[in-house]
Amino acid sequence: MKSRLRSIWCNLFYKHEVEKDLDAEVRAFVNMVADEKMAAGDSQEEAQRRALAECGGIEQVKQSVRDDRSGVIFENLWQDLHFGTRQLGRNPVFAIAGVLMLGIGIGANTAIFTFFNSVLLRPLPYPEPNLLTNILSELGNSSRAPASMFELYQIRQRSREFDQIAGIWVTNRALPGKGDAEQGKLGVVTSNFLPLFCTRPMLGRFFDPEDDLENAPSTTVLSHELWVRKFGADPRIIGTSVILGRGSSVVIGVLPQDFRLIFPEDASVPPNVDYFQSIPIGPWEPNGPAFLHLVGRLRNAQGLAAAQAELRSIAAQINNIGARTRVPNYHLYAFSLQDDDVREVRGTLYLLFGAVAFVLLIGCANVASLLMVRSRQRLHETTIRAALGASTFRLIQQILIETLVIVFLGGAVALMLGWAALKAIIAVEPPSFANLGHVSLDLRVLGFTFAIALWISVIVALAPISTLRRLRLAEDLKRSGRSTARRRSKTTTVLVATEVAFAFVLLIGTGLLVRTFANILRVDPGFRPENVLTLRVNVPNYDVLREMQLALTAIPGVQSVSSVSHLPLDDSGNWYDYYWKDGAPVGQQNTVMADMRSVLPGYFGTIGAQLIQGRDFTDSDDAAHQHVALIDEGLARQLWPGELALGKRINVSDSPQGPYQFERDWLVIVGVIRHVRCHTLIATVRPQIYLPYPLAPRPSMSLVIRTDGALPGLASAVRKSIVGLNRNIPTTHVEPLLSVVERARAQSRFMSVLAALLSIVALQLALGGIYGVLSYSVVLRTAEIGIRMAVGARHTQIMRLVFADGFVPVTFGIMAGTTLSVVSMPLLDHLLFEIKPGSPEVYLLSIVSILALSGIAMLVPALRAIEIDPLTALACE
């Protein structure tokens, strides 16, 4: 062992001596053989020659000793690494191109995989997340509908497959605590809800069924954030009573810092709820409002199918006991919470992943063709090295190392790029991913990236080695580095065609997504958001709201001021309920839902919505007069097709007695407006019913203020004016209505920007590939082109020659790309708006741009070709 270590030591650090020693030893051997030959009668020269021949070459012997020696691996590795980096340094364009191509490919992959990881692979941060399910009902024309307390109670009574069924409803309320009144999010939950999502509170306890008893004091669980902000992180808060609205409530617990609710977007359950209060589970009344989002915990992880079946039969039973749900298509469904959370984004993520994989493949193909071209250029050098005694293994090792240097540098670049890309993606805050919380590059992603890097290195290394295997020593030496007019190989044609095909598919996808975004920009949402400022306020009653409306209207430059319970396109909360028209049979009641909005007079004019028939609300539309409503055109058409809706009656829930004291009521239609898109820009989700504020008072309202033009000091003027009322009214979310609309466009913008970036990268890579391969082919054909020019070929003919060479793979690529797109683009359909996945316009544009761009990429090599001087070209031969 000692001798071995010493040997490695000597080999590494006294290499010079060791080499001299070896040389002397082998030479001595040859000389001694020569001595023998001379003794046998040969001349000195003859003896020397025969001795050398017998020994098989001094260098070869030395090399075989080196190869065999201990430390050889290290030394060769070191040598090759050194050689490899030196070679790469000598050819920095090649090195940088290779590193960047891989870096971009792998980096984009890392970023997207991190998303994948945190969105699809990482389990939800709850105890036994695989047991949690969403329970949704379908009835009438609403799928994924919320449940009433009656339904929750009935399901709980009957279910065996679920060991817990809980409900939550999130609403805007005043925050507990002293100081300025402030609006926040209250989670109204059944007492068994929080334990499903959190093992134990950070302080205190969760709700008990005792808290729901009739005479129990009001109890509250605080979020960590609220506890720190409003109560100074005081642990003695537990058990004390805090001010809450006009009453008080006992704080019984504080949630851990990292507690988040991760629900599907349409559940209207935001991730950060400020505080929770419990709601008693009871039979309630069968026709009560449906507002609860239900969550069930399965008894075991395999129970989802059984639970589905059970819910089917429970739905039938509930229907039979004469509930609101007595409709033929009332169903209950359970979905795994994790799957349901990512339902909307899963497709998008897979698509992104596919697109990024394409970019990576293009990068790979590029590096492979680069290496291939290089290895052919270096054929002469390789041949000489082989002749000088380098074993094939050693040559392969050397190429492998050079490749690995590129790949690992590429991997390092990728890690940085991926990190930056992830930061950028998070900064854009794609809306559908917003509730997925903290995303960071983790070790698994790191491993994934390097797995990719290694995998590529093997593939890429195979490319040059395949030419090495065909090495004919003597033949190649004879040619002695003279380039032949060999045509570009089939392999490079295939590689370039592949690159073009993948880039083409990405281009088509981008075209479709960009067109979608353009279409969304053109959508008329049913109101004019320009020059409208919005803010949220918490108001005690109608009089204060009216007072505020009048005070704000007095601000110079303000056209009109009004108020609404839910701003359009601001999906942070919703109020929707069943409605039916006068004379609807019982079976049709409680089947269809509309979005309900409580507004002040002047709302429609202020946001720029269009009144089609009838009149707006007036100040005298209150509980004391006739109860009236406005509806949108869709509802009017649906309920009274071909008839005038004005003067007809409609049954809805309102609360003239006070906030949230709902009762069924008949309202007379006094006006019809054009539909206002209020959930997404691209779809009408539900019809709309507008109620005058006195019929549906609520503490949390949004003010809308239309001005004559841009009014720079408006926000502060509005705040000052509200403070001047001296009513202690909290104002939050002061922002132009236009930015609310912008947010609604964010998803589409995000997708089209990302797709555009990816296809720009892909195009650049592909064009780089075309350029590189063609440039090289011009170099290879220098002699041929020289001869052609010498015998009188014109410049145009030479250029045509080069272009023909380039357009063959491009054409194949476009053909393959078109086929691939036709097959794959329908997958994009759910992201598209007002454009078909097979849009001929997009295809045509993509084909034209690919042809034009690759023409540009070919121009430089073509120009270089006509600059070839026939004399020099021939002299080189």
């Binding site: 062992m1 000692k2 001798s3 071995r4 040997s7 020693d21 070896l22 002397a24 030893e25 082998v26 001595a28 051997f29 040859v30 000389n31 001694m32 053989v33 001595d35 017998e54 020994c55 098989g56 070869q60 012997v61 075989s64 000793v65 190869d67 065999d68 020696r69 201990s70």
Partner: protein
């Protein structure tokens, strides 16, 4: 001579070299010639396989080398066995005998 030359069996080269050196000291050519002599020319060790083997065995600690003068006044590197090398010779010889016996038996039984 080339007529009765045999290829060197895999794994036997080390044993041949160790045995050729024995208790004395030889340079490379000496070892090569001695192997030829003792095997009546059946085995011819080329420098391409001799030197790697010598260096390997030196690294393994079986051989010690030292520069000296040859009979023709040439500087040459001389190899001799270490104690470890002698033990190795004994083991390998024993093993070889077993191999020969086993092979002989195997061939006899056919």
């Amino acid at each position: 001579m080339p007529g009765n030359r045999l290829p060197i069996l895999q794994g036997t080269l080390d044993l041949l070299i160790l045995k050729a050196i024995g208790d004395s000291e030889f340079h490379g050519l000496g070892i090569s010639r001695r192997i030829e002599q003792t095997t009546c020319g059946a085995f011819h060790v080329t420098p391409g396989s001799l030197f790697p083997a010598l260096h390997r065995m030196e690294v393994a600690g079986w051989l010690l080398s030292q520069w000296g003068e040859s009979e023709n006044n040439r500087r040459a590197k001389y190899y001799r066995l270490t104690d470890h090398g002698k033990r190795q010779l004994k083991t390998e010889t024993g093993q070889w005998k077993k191999v020969v016996l086993a092979m002989a038996n195997a061939l006899k039984s056919i």
